[in-house]
Subunit: 327 residues, 6 copies
Amino acid sequence: MKDFFVADAPRFENSVVTSYFVLSSFQVRDRKQGGQFVSAILTDKTGSLPAVMWDDFADAVAVCTEGCYVKAQGQIARYQGRFQMGLQRLRPAAESEVDAADFLPVTRFDVEEMWTELRGYVSRFTNPDLQRLVFAFLDDPEIAQAYRTAPAAKMLHHAWIGGLLEHVLTLVRVCLATAPFYPEVDADLLVSGAVLHDIGKIRELYWKTSFGYTLEGQLVGHISIAQRMLQEKVRGIEPFPEKLRLLVEHMILSHHGKYEFGSPKLPMTPEALLLNTLDDLEAKMQTLRNAFDAATEQGKGPTEVTDWVRSMERPLFNSQAYLKDSE
Amino acid sequence: MKDFFVADAPRFENSVVTSYFVLSSFQVRDRKQGGQFVSAILTDKTGSLPAVMWDDFADAVAVCTEGCYVKAQGQIARYQGRFQMGLQRLRPAAESEVDAADFLPVTRFDVEEMWTELRGYVSRFTNPDLQRLVFAFLDDPEIAQAYRTAPAAKMLHHAWIGGLLEHVLTLVRVCLATAPFYPEVDADLLVSGAVLHDIGKIRELYWKTSFGYTLEGQLVGHISIAQRMLQEKVRGIEPFPEKLRLLVEHMILSHHGKYEFGSPKLPMTPEALLLNTLDDLEAKMQTLRNAFDAATEQGKGPTEVTDWVRSMERPLFNSQAYLKDSE
Amino acid sequence: MKDFFVADAPRFENSVVTSYFVLSSFQVRDRKQGGQFVSAILTDKTGSLPAVMWDDFADAVAVCTEGCYVKAQGQIARYQGRFQMGLQRLRPAAESEVDAADFLPVTRFDVEEMWTELRGYVSRFTNPDLQRLVFAFLDDPEIAQAYRTAPAAKMLHHAWIGGLLEHVLTLVRVCLATAPFYPEVDADLLVSGAVLHDIGKIRELYWKTSFGYTLEGQLVGHISIAQRMLQEKVRGIEPFPEKLRLLVEHMILSHHGKYEFGSPKLPMTPEALLLNTLDDLEAKMQTLRNAFDAATEQGKGPTEVTDWVRSMERPLFNSQAYLKDSE
Amino acid sequence: MKDFFVADAPRFENSVVTSYFVLSSFQVRDRKQGGQFVSAILTDKTGSLPAVMWDDFADAVAVCTEGCYVKAQGQIARYQGRFQMGLQRLRPAAESEVDAADFLPVTRFDVEEMWTELRGYVSRFTNPDLQRLVFAFLDDPEIAQAYRTAPAAKMLHHAWIGGLLEHVLTLVRVCLATAPFYPEVDADLLVSGAVLHDIGKIRELYWKTSFGYTLEGQLVGHISIAQRMLQEKVRGIEPFPEKLRLLVEHMILSHHGKYEFGSPKLPMTPEALLLNTLDDLEAKMQTLRNAFDAATEQGKGPTEVTDWVRSMERPLFNSQAYLKDSE
Amino acid sequence: MKDFFVADAPRFENSVVTSYFVLSSFQVRDRKQGGQFVSAILTDKTGSLPAVMWDDFADAVAVCTEGCYVKAQGQIARYQGRFQMGLQRLRPAAESEVDAADFLPVTRFDVEEMWTELRGYVSRFTNPDLQRLVFAFLDDPEIAQAYRTAPAAKMLHHAWIGGLLEHVLTLVRVCLATAPFYPEVDADLLVSGAVLHDIGKIRELYWKTSFGYTLEGQLVGHISIAQRMLQEKVRGIEPFPEKLRLLVEHMILSHHGKYEFGSPKLPMTPEALLLNTLDDLEAKMQTLRNAFDAATEQGKGPTEVTDWVRSMERPLFNSQAYLKDSE
Amino acid sequence: MKDFFVADAPRFENSVVTSYFVLSSFQVRDRKQGGQFVSAILTDKTGSLPAVMWDDFADAVAVCTEGCYVKAQGQIARYQGRFQMGLQRLRPAAESEVDAADFLPVTRFDVEEMWTELRGYVSRFTNPDLQRLVFAFLDDPEIAQAYRTAPAAKMLHHAWIGGLLEHVLTLVRVCLATAPFYPEVDADLLVSGAVLHDIGKIRELYWKTSFGYTLEGQLVGHISIAQRMLQEKVRGIEPFPEKLRLLVEHMILSHHGKYEFGSPKLPMTPEALLLNTLDDLEAKMQTLRNAFDAATEQGKGPTEVTDWVRSMERPLFNSQAYLKDSE
């Protein structure tokens, strides 16, 4: 559906193109020489493109709104060294006209495969109660739909469509590889915690045309939302062992590991401790990947550290690239 | 029912008494000269009394358990400067034989009067939805029963039977006195938060024969328990405005005010901020009272500061007593 | 006296206006094509206006100084989308020509009424010594003059002319409403602390044509300044009870509540604790108001949280606007 | 060699026994009734036994020293409820007479098997330089001898003979299980870090007859000691790739993960981050095990949390025991 | 005057002695066999001695008070391994009968010499105003008397009679040695700060028969007390340059260096920074000395570190003793 | 060699100049009207100058690299108020053509004199072993060369050529002046620590044409580098007393004084404590100097505090300038 992406602008300089975008900014401004014009920003998953509309914009102004999809036609030109579009036509676009994946960054893995793999792990549980509980979530059409598209964060690690599922799946794999070394740990319980710990993010975040926090996300947060979702699902599959409910609830409440990260409880059980540790590790490893990619884009060489990474309070260093560089 | 209290021991030296106690400790030990004896600790709200049973204790050992009520008969004597009881008879006591208020410290206010006053404030709400919500809690017989007896803490401030109700009532009064000065604050919403913020303590704590944390209290905590109780009650009075639910939930989740105190959220609304401030003030004022009482018991004079108060990281000073001393 | 304000510029485009301003910046610069010109910034309580003077500026340069009042005449024009003034005349203005309230933000309450109300509370003290002490401050013409105009801060809450008095008055009202619930608290002593706790700000800050810290404010701070002022006033009304001096001094020294906020002492008395709590609450509630106003100006809707508020490390949320929005 | 252990005392009450101990305390004291006696404490891996020697102790005093092995003969008796030994003979014991493992707690795993398994992992390295480096340590007889007996700590986790090897081996296993999930991680480099990160502990600690810190351990610490050992070994196998040296050194310097834990560097490479995470996890899981064992010894039931664990600032909970209890 | 000290008890076993003490504790207790007796603790600078009085203690009870000097006669005996005195006579002692230095630890330097040296430094000031100011303190008989006897702390460093003077004098010496290396530093100003920074301790502490905090010390603290004393003295020598007053005041207010140590201001001038640094160094060096002395008393050898020093969060190590040990 | 410096631009407006620079930035860009041009930044110790090259830049692009020395010829002109150079010729410059001191800020002291003075202090050691050790460093030609030119930091204090030597020399002087007041301190040991504590900076930093961190500096840090250098030098002068090695190593490892500053050990000996204190003082005093200079450049007057100094979390105040202003 979408033939032209923002990143294609250099190849289309001086051409007229037609494509779909998110209308990130949309303002009517005064011209110095009198009269008005429209100044807009068009966005897709490859970047943002400034746009101006000098004439006949009354209709567009009447029907287009910031944050919505639009269909735009105009000429690509360079102004003060940056590309922009001289808009000729602009109208709202229906959701049916666009593929959301064109507008927001998206996981590089196949969602169906990830989903099947995740369900496979649950289907191999030996504890039927935990299996019933987790499937009560995964079989819920509304949850399943959201779980397969939600990002894992607004920014930082896994901030892309499908990021939540990608994050959970890699976490589950490491949980299963690690659990056998700790006889104190019940693998089914651990994996249940891994699948459900971030389930509240599907109500904490919105990710339709951009990523952000819902009001419930701001006032309640994904930990407490998840706890409420747990209660709903348990109610739907009663009788359910109270002991398991309590242990799963504890994993959800403690998975951030520290009070200052918003955990109302610290991990007290072996499963909660392991889940918190591996979840944190998974997030940090993704932060490393992001920082290494950014360094490569900046043209940094293999003997240079990355820029300062604020969330980790240090620069990072790609040891693999450094070792390979010597070959 | 209970004629003799631990604090009465000096007046009964060398007398034989019969009374009810909590059996706080109960052990069979070896005697130096061979044979065995029973060493026990008998507790009521006025203190603890060591006890020994030298003979014929097989039956008592078979039926008495630590933490239960017992009926004991024996002679009060002084041993190494401390009073103890030489047990002649010991048997378990049924709950119907005792008045729980005899065994744990209890509020000095009248529970019925406090309960009536609290309900009165709710009955004067102008917001019918919030009124329905709060009464859904207060009219629940199980909750009402617990709310009227629960302590507000295991130790520290308001650690006595009825302490929760006493704490909430004084908090509500100050909320009502303060709210008019802040036009940003909805008084009904604030009072709803005040009544419900600690409701989770009725499942976090147990207070039958002593004060302590339940397993759910340890693994989940009263904030998250309260959130689940809120969800249950809202479900029972549907339709209920989602906006109010969200704002009440936010007050519960943020009332500790800081992440390091176990709040998963910081207060973001005027009501949540005011509730957190006054709840904290109420607890600290009670801490002052406790410290002043302890200083008086230690025989400290009005120009002396109290002992170091660990929860506040400072000693305290009774300014009123100091000023009156000058008269 | 001042007919034209910076905020009026759009209505006067291309007109010649004459008005008074604070000369916030004043520099002689080289013109690209040779020669020089004057670049200035004119400020009043509604904003800042860039100004240029191309000719005949020698006299103005000789007599005008940054930070002073000036009378300026010139034409309003738009340059690169922003308004500026093409100066034709510029001369210093005497203080008698201007009303300071035109140049700095000012309380929206009536200073005389606030002052009368505040004195009224003191006149109802039952403790004659504390009454003598507080009036020794309020009756001092120099202090009274400063107290009625000082801001409560350079930035943040109550940063406007009359802000100190406004802050203290609302604080005193809440103190009087709250004190009856705490029998440990002496109301006269508490209100004395409320009136005097920030008295040092009249020497810590300057607020003539802009807000800032005096050198004494930087090196000594308002807490220690207030302590010295207390000593001066006590000396002037001797004999004064040493006990009261000590308790008032303690409230001043501890009112910031924590060492890291510059309090050399932590609150140890009931009055000091209550004063610190309510002073902090008052400041935070004002921060909420400021944040809500700013969100409204940014065009945020009632379901959106405010921007991140750095001093409170969170965004805030206007619950009242949110509830009303549903009606 | 050692037939009688401290824990055997109850079975030998009133018997005369002869055995070897560490002389933990040894003092000559005055008797109330005049004259002197020897008061001592005898220790082995099962506990400590007070001992007294009333007569003929001049020779013993002349040749026995605190902290050394002794051979003691005496009668076991009970005094004030505790067992003690009435010493008849006491003389120093040569190291050849005793088995150190009798006197200090010791790993419950087979040291030879662990050592072989560890070397096996290194022998399967694909990177010959890292293999040479690690074997330079493991093949060093002095290091190998110490590595196989050293504890991993003075107190806390793995504080027993063989604890270091046990800790490292379990860490290496988890490293190998986890590394495949992180393509950024070089497994040989990671395992090299796991084997060498705590190597400095063999000079930081002493563990002959008790556990403690050497002077070098106190003034330098095991991280910096390990760094120096690395330099020595690298020098011995030159030429060695500088890049590998730098990356291994970084893992050693950063493995505590935080400055406040004495790490002079924070983990910046994927291997350093993973090593720090899994090392910390390993230590915490061992802390859980210790706490669960202690709770069982205290007679706590499966629905009770452990005592407060100071190093983790929380009580812990044995979820497995809790779940099994329901069956 | 005082012939017998507590530390002499072993040499006087079974003798009757007469001496002066501080009566640290004084209680009438019940005897097991009926009747009462007096239990007391007698203290001097060498330690504390328990005492009992079985008969004829009515007069003693009527006139003796805890915390006062007493003259006591009795027999030294050993009871349960510790020495105690069997009191025969006990009466209050007038201050004129005793030498305070016998009862509290005292500086090992000559107070007169220290005082003369300190005044000498001030007499060599080149700034006559600062000289006038400092002598206004040192020439005040009441201050001089207190300054020459006050300890520098209740516990920790320099907690002995004359400790304040000793601390200040060594600090002044180092200030004078260091100042020449920092041309930004005015030596007279620095030394003025050194002499006056702790002057508030003469009202913060009491040290008559024991060391402790006065009420003013608790509620106000020595920093704010010193500030008030400065104001009093400046008033007495007006006209005094305001600039010097401000800079001296700043040094006093900031000399603890950090908010968490109770400094209401951080050092902003070169003199304030240097004073804070050297004052802190002086205190820490004294802490080292105390720890080294304590280690020697415990019989620790030159290769052992001291016990954990809580105020510095580490053990310490006497490098000199260690180096000498090798000779 | 270098006649024209960036700071000379105003005096050479419209002239053609030829000089040497560091080529800080060098990019080929598209011209709006088609074609390309070179945009560069030329730097020397006095500042940075933008430069453009419109024609014939193919050769320059082929041979010039960012970060290298270049010889440039062009005309100085003013563009949009700032000076820039219109390049006519640009070629790489050999190191032999330039004096590195022209391109980076350099100490204002004579390096030879500082070096001689520093060696003089070492030559007066009474401890021959420490003397041998320190001279093993200072006599090493490679170290000596680096030591005499290295900066003491990338930014902040002493960030200039020769800054390390300047910092160490002033530190040694203060050490020698202070040591006599602390009999616990061995002056030779202290000065050895002062000379060697920052020696790792010669490998942690690079300072050829700009200041920055080496990869080893990032991954290992100057403390651990210094420790390794110490080991190398000790090995070269064996036999060397182990005790001295341990104490010097401890000083190096602990000289940052706190864990959070990257010290793996806290100062435990008197020398380590004194070194840490004076090193920190020296850095802070230099920070004050820098802030005072910056304030002067900003045109601040003697009654104004400096801008907020982030590393010290406060503004600073030049008391000397303030006092002199009054004369």
